[in-house]
Symmetry: C2
Subunit: 559 residues, 2 copies
């Protein structure tokens, strides 16, 4: 008897009976207070930043790894699908909502211990409940000489949650999954796997090196439903002798392609060692303020011609970019020279900012404008959190942009799920060439405006060769019809982009069908899933190709 | 009927009958010339740089990926274990010799096409037969501005072979498996899997980005027997504006630990962006000359007191190190400043070398010595190939050291397997701390000398936090008893090192039992192997935990 289904709840009487029995066992394991079944909690867990129909039967809050193992044992006994979340703040990609209907959430936020911290070798070992805020606090408390890398999401996001989703940040350690090792994973059956050298008893190198001998398994547990990651080691970067940020601006839309061509060699040559973010005007405006309802007399979308007027008034460009320079004073000076040279004639403004200048500008914004001609005062609010992120300081500021289309300002305790913020993200990867970027931009601009949304786009030079083009569809879920309109927009956007060969690096719960296909990759993931999760109880459907068993059987029976 | 076995051949009449039938089919597939069964070829394939007993039934030489798929289909039909090699030059770890007796080799050297080359995005896509020499030649022919990374093994080594074994080189792209993406893999059943974005039809980002959406599978095919890699994209580095190498020397053994402490911050801070290699005196001597039979009147091992005399005479230190600096002229100058400062008082000699100075020194070695006091003439022979490797120039020079204990000089066409060179490598990883390195060195020195071998050790600062301590047991296989003695030495070395928590990053065919264990990791690999290779025909035993099926079954049957 399986309760597995995608779409409307398939809760039969049998399911009910099994679920009741499972809940009894979970309660006796965790205590009733950690098995949450009240309507409002369940409703909250069923709510994302876009329309969903999946029901959540209960929320389990295990307190330790062995609780997680036992939870899985019980799930297997009664064939109840469970869906693990760390902090559950996967906004824009489905938040805490399970891919499959009638699931039980496993909320890992109580596993929030920092298990190890090593200043010399620059790493920290954490559980999935540990947040960005917690790690930042530890580094402050210890007066550590190490910096973490933070995402532009909430300080209360889980470090592991973001890393296993392969999220990215702003420092040279911005590729989060590349900077972790030594995973401890609870498999769907309850078995525990440690990866890298951690699997060997008494091993010394576990927290300092990715692989042990034999196949490297870490990748299996990123963007997957093959296990619950209960521990990782995260590498930290030593604070550089000197840090400086650079900000640049292009006034015209068509400057982007040549800009990419100019940035690529800097990235490839290691002059830029961290991610560079380039945002369009819509993205920048969303970081400064909410939708200009007055300006537009309440009409949406914000048309490009109005956007251009706002740009002129608020003094930002068609494209605004930023990046960090890390090193000795001499190295940073040298990088600045190379950047100035490479961006000459490509950008309309290029400004460098360090701690000293930031403090000065904050105190004497008016005077600074007189001296330099750069009006910092209105962009300081935007620049400061970005500047902080480049130094690994978590911030809540960028989250405000989720309230872009809302008619009241973001509350002090922001919760986009609760507050009806509409947000769908799509993040295709393109090779770092101007021509590719132009195609993605054209498609995104055209489709979002056509569907009545603002094409808010940021491009992250995520590696030496690739750009993550993060496109957000931002709306107000309280406006009737907007949920459907946004989803239709998302589908069309995805369709046209994949048609041209630009696939997303990460998928929302509504997009897991992208994993399907009759290719060997889909069949292999399916075969591994069958091997590790025979009852298909762990996050069924998550990054999992739809049934390809027939296909995989065919290829396996060559003889 | 299975022919699977480890140890002496288990060739029964049934096996013979099946093998004959399989060979017939392979011959009809590939043509008789590409199914090699003559005694001398088989004997050569059964020969490594240490004692082995495994028999090779035949050598298949498929010409394309689809040949490989068909070869696997036939292997499955008749349950004949096959063992793929790219160039087969896995010297010190087992060369071409299969882990399991009575296997058929699949030699991939005919798959030697360079499928794609992109100067702008700095990558090349190759088949497993493509060698270091071939890629280097391509870059020369195209007058490319890109550098490859080369290992210190033969120019005729396969690029893919080294990458999937997770080998390393000398430039900032020295971690070979970290610099590949977009694998094409033939699974044991013959199915084809493409990884990353390559799995999606028409995808643009395949060669520029590691992961697609969903679980990252690349790691499964490194150090494994889960598939045959038939294509990868290798990232190349742009030649820097300026390159400079540094060489340093410590006269006393006890300078190593503080040296490591001084180097770690440079590596962590990104001042040193490439692997740094530190070699002991034995390793250096082995790079300069063969065993000093005269000096020792034919006695072995070369004792530390004799070594010290030779060191003084030949003017090298207890420790000799080298690394490369890559960047703009300003960046390199800045790195030099930081290195000088960090190594002050830690080393007895620190010398920088660039193209200009190398050319000068070669021409005026004597004069140079007068001017600088540094006698380059005798170390130039050693320095030049190392210098070249740091610029990605493959060289045959380091291979000569495999002939260390031989009594005649290395022949022009070196082949350590054929020439009876004894070589066993063990390469434990240690955290980058002086105290750890000292433990490894003490164990290696003591045990190798005790067993009558020279402790030839090089330490590679392979990442920001970890050191690969490569220990070689080098001997003459033609000396009676030495094969056994070397293997006993290896076992003791491995035993004491793992006892202290230092495990090898890579295993020879004699050491695959290290993969075993009753932990979840072993069970998971076993479960995946069972899923992808139901007949266990692909390289059985290679990086594969011994039977843990019982264990994995237990954990899977919780209910």
């Amino acid at each position: 008897m399986e309760v597995r289904a995608v779409g409307p709840a398939v809760i039969t009487e049998d399911t009910d009976r099994l679920a009741v029995k499972a809940l009894e066992q979970w309660m006796s394991l965790l205590g009733a207070e950690y098995v949450i079944t009240d309507d409002s909690s369940r409703f909250a867990a069923e709510t994302a930043t876009f329309a969903t129909t999946q029901k959540v039967l209960a929320i389990l809050r295990p307190g330790c790894r062995d609780d997680v193992r036992e939870c899985m044992r019980i799930a297997n006994c009664f064939r109840i699908p469970v869906y693990p979340v760390s902090s559950g703040k996967n906004w824009g990609y489905g938040s805490r909502v399970p891919v499959t209907d009638a699931s039980v959430l496993i909320d890992l936020s109580r596993l929030n211990r920092i298990l190890d911290f090593n200043e010399k070798l620059a790493y920290v070992t954490v559980e999935p409940g540990v947040t960005q805020r917690q790690l930042f606090q530890l580094l402050q408390d210890r007066r550590s000489g190490l910096w973490m890398d933070a995402t532009g999401s909430s300080p209360d996001c889980s470090l592991i949650g973001n890393a296993v989703e392969r999220g990215f940040g702003h420092t040279p350690y911005g590729d989060h999954f590349a900077q972790v090792c030594g995973l401890e994973v609870v498999l769907p059956t309850g078995a525990v796997v440690e990866t890298g050298f951690c699997r060997f008893s008494g091993s010394q190198a576990g927290p300092t090196y990715k692989c042990g001998a034999g196949p490297a398994l870490d990748g299996l547990f990123s963007q997957s439903n093959l296990g619950i990651v209960t521990r990782v080691t995260i590498w930290l970067m030593p604070a550089p002798e000197h840090f400086e940020a650079f900000f640049f601006q292009c006034n015209r839309e068509d400057q982007l392609a040549p800009l990419m061509e100019a940035l690529r060699p800097l990235r490839l040559q290691g002059i830029l060692r961290s991610t560079v973010h380039v945002a369009n005007d819509y993205k920048v405006l969303g970081g400064i303020q909410q939708y200009p309802w007055g300006e537009t007399n309440g009409a949406t979308p914000l048309l490009p011609e109005v956007m251009r007027r706002l740009r002129t008034r608020l003094k930002f460009g068609a494209w605004s970019g930023s990046g960090g320079l890390y090193g000795t004073r001499g190295q940073v000076a040298e990088a600045k020279r190379a950047i100035r040279q490479a961006l000459k004639g490509k950008v309309d403004r290029l400004q460098f900012l360090d701690d000293r200048r930031l403090a000065f500008a904050s105190r004497f914004a008016k005077l600074y404008q007189l001296l330099t001609g750069w009006d910092l005062s209105q962009t300081l609010d935007l620049a400061r959190p970005v500047y902080g992120l480049m130094k690994g300081v978590p911030t809540e500021k960028p989250l405000e942009s989720a309230y872009w289309r809302k008619k009241s300002p973001p509350p002090p305790n922001m919760d986009p799920d609760r507050d009806g913020c509409g947000l769908l993200w799509h993040a295709p990867i393109a090779p770092m060439e101007g021509s590719h970027i132009e195609v993605v931009i054209e498609i995104a601009n055209r489709i979002l405006l056509e569907y009545g949304f603002e094409p808010s786009i940021s491009m992250t030079l995520i590696t030496e060769r690739a750009v993550a083009c993060v496109i957000s569809i931002c709306y107000d879920r309280c406006e009737p019809g907007q949920d459907d309109q946004a989803m239709a927009c998302y589908r069309q956007l995805k369709h046209e982009l994949t048609d041209r060969g630009y696939y997303s690096y990460r998928l929302g719960i509504q997009a897991m069908s992208e994993m399907s296909g009759t290719d060997g990759h889909a069949a292999l993931i399916r075969a591994i899933k069958d091997a590790v999760d025979p009852n298909s109880v762990l996050a069924p459907g998550r990054y999992e190709p739809a049934e390809t068993r027939a296909c995989s059987k065919t290829t396996a029976s060559h003889e």
